[in-house]
């Protein structure tokens, strides 16, 4: 319980300090309104409903990018794991992948795929998929050979072995991959909306910024922050539950 208390202090102490600095106009309202006003603004934004379409659109695109990254990432990871030449070819590329500024390709994606949602989903997918491939490879590498032999002794077929032995053993690694894929998909989609898009939360934040509309911009930033924290905390909770059964001694 003490750790929870310290965590709350770590969050609320800087917020209280910020509140005081904003209210005393040490930080000008044009730069940052007090946190309490941002929170009330968030309530107003949600109650107003004007941004519901943007919220739904962003979350749908993020969800699509996640699903694609997880499915393609696991399938590609499993294929690369089975093929030694493919692995030798691709593995060095994975380690340098995140050094590539994916957003640089965004104009190209717009030229190829048009101004719809596809380029944004693609950016989210491209950022997320490699973390899923790398986690899948790590998970499959971790499966002890003796479990494969056990599956053969039990006369399990290839599909049943993957479903009942390999994937459950690799699950903690895959889960880490899913967590990273979710984070990267959020960054990719919202970042893409921010740069070049006519809809979505990223676009609304940029539009508010361009119009110096702090009553919309900061509440929407807070909304994204809360969604990201809530999703991450839920995943962490599941991750701990998953690992605790396997690792408690």
């Amino acid at each position: 319980m003490r750790i929870v208390f310290y965590r709350l202090v770590a969050v609320f102490l800087p917020l209280t300090l910020l509140e005081i600095l904003c209210r005393e106009h040490v930080i000008k309202p044009l730069i940052l309104p007090p946190p309490s006003r941002i929170l009330l603004g968030l309530w107003a934004v949600i109650a107003n409903g004007a941004f519901n379409a943007a919220i739904v659109k962003t979350l749908a695109n993020v969800g699509l990018a996640i699903v694609l990254a997880v499915v393609v990432g696991i399938a590609a990871g499993a294929a690369i794991h089975r093929s030694r030449p493919l692995r030798t070819l691709l593995e060095p590329l994975f380690s340098t992948y995140y050094a590539i500024p994916i957003y640089a390709f965004y104009p190209l994606f717009i030229v190829v795929f048009g101004l719809g949602d596809t380029p944004q989903v693609l950016i989210g997918f491209m950022l997320a998929v490699v973390s899923m491939i790398v986690s899948t490879l790590a998970g499959l590498d971790s499966v002890p050979a003796v479990l494969g032999k056990t599956a053969r002794v039990m006369q399990l077929g290839a599909v049943e072995t993957v479903r009942s032995v390999t994937m459950p053993y690799a699950a903690p690694y895959l889960f880490t991959g899913v967590k990273l894929a979710i984070a990267y998909a959020f960054i990719g989609v919202i970042g893409a909306e921010f740069i070049m898009s006519g809809t979505g939360l990223g676009y609304e934040i940029r539009f508010a910024y361009d119009n110096l509309d702090n009553d919309v911009m900061y509440p929407l930033i807070l909304l994204i922050l809360l969604i990201a924290v809530a999703v991450n905390m839920s995943l962490d909770h599941w991750d701990r539950a998953l690992r605790s059964r396997r690792e408690r001694g």
């Binding site: 002890p144 032999k149 053969r152 049943e160 053993y169 059964r245 396997r246 408690r248």
Partner: protein, 280 residues
């Protein structure tokens, strides 16, 4: 051909032997690697009689585990023939063979009960029958109080019991044990040996035990095959002559010392050869 000692002398000729359960004829195994072809095993010619407890000892790296893998159809032989119940063994593990490995083969995401029933639940067996066999196995292995525990909560010996119980649930007619107590301390190994003998008598299965522990082989087996350094060949098969009803207290009888000493005499030179560095 291996020489076969017997304590029954000439009377062995008139005692009816149980039928052959597993037969190996001219079995060899060679591996290809970047360094060239490695002759790992054989040629091996042995017969396992139905319901006998057969042990194989040999120096490190002599191919004992490879021999087990070949019998279990986990690895194909390079040459020779393995038959189980008169049928040649192919590329898949035949029905009626169970294997317990040295490494921890428990599924860490499943509790003890789910680990034990893992294989049987995938067979066309009634749920009530699965439950009945589970309760029997839990009872037999002394795991009644741990059915809901996860492998990470168990000691190495108890995890190995879970793996043995999982194998027993499939009611194998041939149980292959690849150094199953290799990671356990001496006291636990002796007790597990007692449990193994009890299971062997209760199930009537043929048991093949691969081990590096001479005392374990001498205590548990009806016959012990001694293998040479790589490429592993059978140097001799020693018949222990123990009664079927036996336990770890057999280590205190003088014959046990004599058998262990005989095994060590055969193995000493082979073990020294195995310790020599390989020519580069």
């Amino acid at each position: 051909m291996p020489r076969c000692n017997t304590n029954f002398g000439k009377w062995a000729l008139v005692v009816r032997q149980p039928p052959i359960h597993v037969s190996l004829r001219g079995v060899t195994k060679e591996y290809e690697s970047k360094l060239g072809r490695t002759h790992a095993l054989g040629p091996i010619d042995i017969d396992l009689r139905r319901s006998e407890f057969f042990a194989v000892v040999g120096p490190s790296g002599c191919g004992k585990s490879t021999l087990l893998d070949v019998i279990a159809a986990l690895v194909p032989p390079s040459a020779g023939l393995v038959t189980f119940e008169g049928q040649p063994i192919g590329n898949t593990v035949p029905d009626g063979i169970g294997v317990v490995f040295q490494e921890n083969a428990c599924f860490p995401w499943l509790n003890v009960a789910d680990n034990i029933t893992f294989g049987l639940r995938r067979q066309p067996v009634e749920r009530s029958e699965v439950e009945r066999r589970l309760q029997d196995a839990l009872q037999l292995m002394g795991l009644q109080d741990f059915a809901r525990a996860f492998p990470a909560q168990l000691s190495g010996g108890m995890r190995q019991r879970v793996c043995i119980a999982r194998t027993l649930l499939m009611q194998p007619r041939l149980i292959l044990l690849d150094e199953p107590f290799g990671a356990l301390d001496q006291q636990t190994r002796l007790l597990m040996g007692d449990e193994l003998l009890r299971i062997w008598r209760a199930t009537g299965a043929t048991v093949l035990l691969i081990t590096h522990a001479l005392d374990e082989a001498a205590m548990l087996a009806d016959r012990v095959a001694v293998m040479s350094a790589r490429p592993g060949k059978i140097l001799e098969v020693i018949e222990t002559g123990w009664p079927r009803e036996r336990d770890s207290q057999i280590v205190s009888v003088p014959e046990f010392g004599a058998i262990t000493a005989r095994l060590w005499t055969l193995l000493r030179a082979q073990s020294m050869q195995a310790l020599r560095p390989e020519p580069v």
